[in-house]
């Protein structure tokens, strides 16, 4: 019996002695850490995904407390976390814009024909090395699912037509797919914003039409119809300034190739018109460009 008890007691006493020494040392050598750092750290999601640009949640917590990063710097946590962090920091927060990934290409197997066959590793970056991928369009989604593999939150899956599909409710905007995509097709778009330009092709419309039936041909109609000047066509490609867009859906209606898609927010245009009495709504088929100084100034 003593064969068991003696070792246990000896080890126990030694551990206790060392524990006392350490406890004393931790008091004597205490470093004053800002007590808000651990508090902020516990308010953050703790996924260490790096979506904020810092190595992990610990680093972000330290950066927030030191004032280097804003309280709403965590894109994954969204408004709840931002509010919790702001409370700890004693700040008012403006709700951070919740983002979600979006596949900005609609060129599936039918709409954007292939120009070659590829039998290599099923990885977009590998396929890109093999003479720029197989799709006729040099800008579109390659469709080998590198973004799907990069997603840690099960928010991406490969659709039946060779394009990834985002589950926007699962997406945490951690940016992993955006970094993984060699074509820049994956982009973070505000979560509540549905209207977007589903194309990356910067070639003139003539060449876009050869490669894809649903690409942006830079016809400028969206830019002309946009009441707020949020849609601009630059470098043969329409783009939307999400901060200015009121989601009236006029651009979606006029887009001839259906490259612009999305659900419009009902009543948003009427509300905007109330604040801007000088605005004249264009006809459904816009014969003349809308009298918009902003749009006119932004035209090339």
């Amino acid at each position: 019996m003593s064969q068991i008890i003696i070792p246990v007691v000896v080890l126990g006493i030694m551990a206790l002695a060392f524990g006392v020494i350490l406890a004393y040392a931790s008091k004597a050598l205490e470093v004053k850490v800002d007590e808000r750092v651990p508090q902020v750290r516990s308010a953050l999601p703790g996924a260490n995904c790096g979506g904020c640009g810092y190595p992990g949640c610990d680093a972000l917590a330290a950066a927030i407390v030191s004032g280097e990063a804003p309280v709403n710097a965590c894109p994954v946590g969204g408004a709840n976390v931002a509010a919790a962090v702001a409370k700890i920091m004693g700040e008012e927060t403006s709700a951070s814009v919740k983002l979600a990934a979006m596949v900005l290409c609609q060129g599936d197997c039918e709409k954007a024909p292939q120009r070659a066959e590829y039998y290599g590793v099923a990885d977009c970056r590998q396929a890109l090395n093999a003479n720029g991928g197989t799709k006729g369009c040099r800008f579109g989604c390659l469709g080998y699912g590198t973004c799907v593999a990069a997603c840690n939150f099960d928010a991406l899956k490969m659709g039946p037509n060779g394009l990834p599909i985002v589950d926007r409710d699962k997406c945490t905007a951690c940016n992993a797919c955006v970094k993984a995509c060699p074509k820049g097709v994956m982009q973070l778009v505000p979560y509540d914003h549905d209207i977007r330009v589903n194309c990356q092709n910067t070639l003139p419309g003539k060449f876009v039409r050869q490669d894809c039936s649903i690409g942006c041909i830079a016809c400028m109609r969206c830019q002309k119809v946009c009441p707020t000047g949020a849609v601009t066509v630059r470098n043969n490609l329409a783009s939307i300034d999400y901060a200015n867009c009121i989601q009236c859906g006029l651009c979606v209606d006029v887009c001839p190739t259906h490259c612009l898609t999305g659900q419009k927010v009902e009543g948003s245009l009427e509300k905007w018109e109330k604040d801007h009495p000088e605005y004249e709504r264009p006809e459904t088929k816009p014969k003349a460009p809308a009298k918009k100084p902003v749009a006119a100034a932004a035209a090339k």
């Binding site: 003696i6 070792p7 000896v10 080890l11 030694m14 551990a15 060392f18 020494i21 350490l22 040392a25 931790s26 050598l29 470093v31």
Partner: protein, 190 residues
């Protein structure tokens, strides 16, 4: 003379990293910059010297009289873990920069086999107290020498045109192997 030989043997001939292959983890992990590797070397030196002394006392005044030699490993790890915690607190207090640079490798000294190795080898070779401490310091200085030399080489490697397939850890491992071969040249001395 005896202690001098012990020192030279520990630093060069039986270098802990390059000829005993102990403590490889921090050797590869904290050897990107000379400054941090010096810090790591200093931390390991302190822990190894203290561990040699304390484990000697623990071994011959607690374990041997009570015939508990089989508890060697676990008690030594207990001693080392305590020391590492102590070092961590000291470094955090003294130099937050070094603390950040060492990062996870500082608590990992706990499981650094060089430290446990020196404690166990002291017992195995039957060294007395002074010999144990000298051997511990020698081993630690050898560790420091190896890691600082390696960091110097790696700083140069960063600037060299290295084939992409070998960039980073592959070339570091090859370098470590070549350094090990070089240190084996000392083996005929003692």
């Amino acid at each position: 003379m005896h202690y001098l030989l012990l020192l030279i043997s520990g630093i060069f001939v039986h270098n802990f990293i390059l000829s005993r292959f102990l403590g490889i983890c921090p050797f590869l992990g904290v050897s990107k910059q000379i400054s941090t590797s010096v810090g790591m070397g200093a931390a390991v030196t302190f822990v190894m010297a203290m561990a040699s002394a304390i484990t000697y006392v623990v071994q011959y005044s607690i374990l041997v009289p009570l015939h508990l030699e089989y508890l060697q490993t676990i008690t030594f790890i207990l001693v080392i873990a305590t020391l590492v915690q102590l070092v961590e607190m000291v470094i955090k207090k003294m130099s937050p920069t070094l603390y950040d640079a060492l990062g996870v490798f500082l608590p990992l000294i706990t499981t650094n086999c060089a430290v446990l190795g020196v404690a166990l080898l002291n017992v195995q070779y039957g060294y007395n107290f002074l010999e144990s401490v000298v051997f511990g310091i020698a081993g630690a200085l050898g560790f420091m020498l190896a890691i600082v030399l390696f960091a110097g080489i790696r700083e140069q490697l960063e600037l060299s045109p290295i084939p992409k397939a070998l960039d980073g850890f592959p070339i570091a491992l090859i370098t470590a192997g070549l350094m090990s071969i070089a240190f084996l040249g000392f083996s005929g001395m003692l």
